[in-house]
């Protein structure tokens, strides 16, 4: 796991219940992917993104913030329920 990936997880864990890390490490140290948490259960999609951004803005440097790519925030049901 890359350094930024570790820091992102460390930052998120205290704020998100039952957090599951499905992030990917990209070339150049970037991070993107999926975060799963029951804390997102009652939130719409914009609110989830705002929540992630607020946590990142407080804990990451501007350079680290720009190296965090698109992260989808899913509920446990969204991450586990399959159509087939």
């Amino acid at each position: 796991m890359a350094k930024l990936h570790e820091k992102v997880i460390r930052l998120l864990r205290p704020h998100l219940r039952d957090m599951h890390d499905a992030l990917d490490d990209l070339p150049g140290g970037r991070v993107c992917g999926v975060i799963v948490s029951s804390s997102f259960n009652s939130m719409d999609h914009q609110k989830r993104q705002d929540r992630l951004h607020a946590i990142f803005k407080r804990g990451l440097t501007p350079a680290e913030l720009s190296a965090v790519g698109a992260i989808a925030a899913l509920t446990p049901a969204e991450a586990s329920v399959k159509a087939m």
Binding site: C32, H45, G69, A70, L74, E78, A83
Partner: protein, 154 residues
């Protein structure tokens, strides 16, 4: 046999056609919400694949949108960062949707937590979620098209 389907330009054009077809499935009767959901997401996957293939990534048969995004150029990551539409697309879409009947789609959406507390019958619930999904896919698709067009104009 020459396989054209993995060529970036073919994928780019296919993505535009799939998105237009998805829109027709919710705009014109008889509506087909399963097909609309499937086509909209396929359009996004196709433009992501075009971008990834243009960047030298080998073909990959998996259908995870976030995995395909990880193979795309960084301007696309920047364009999708913080976007509610990207979140919705990853949350709602599943590759198995294409095998579902209308009733199956209802069950799938309910298990995912969509539709509770909304007014109206099953038809209006599925219609609204599908419109939201297609709108979200179109927003993401347009971001992909913009990156494609800027990268191929060089």
């Amino acid at each position: 046999m020459l396989d054209l389907s993995y060529r970036p330009n073919v994928l780019y054009l296919a993505s535009i056609e799939r998105m237009a077809a998805a829109r027709r499935m919710i705009d014109d009767k008889p509506y087909d919400y399963v097909l609309a959901s499937y086509l909209a997401r396929l359009a996004v996957e196709a433009i992501f694949q075009a971008l990834a293939r243009e960047g030298g990534t080998a073909h990959d048969a998996r259908h995870s949108l976030s995995k395909w995004l990880s193979k795309c150029p960084s301007p696309l990551h920047d364009a999708l960062k913080g976007l509610a539409e990207w979140n919705l697309l990853v949350a709602v879409w599943d590759n198995g949707i294409r095998y579902l009947s209308f009733d199956g789609l209802v069950g799938y959406l309910r298990k995912n937590g969509y539709g509770y507390g909304k007014k109206g019958g099953v038809q209006s619930l599925v219609r609204q979620v599908t419109i939201d999904l297609v709108d979200a896919a179109e927003t993401v698709h347009k971001k992909g098209l913009a990156i494609w067009l800027s990268s191929t104009r060089r």
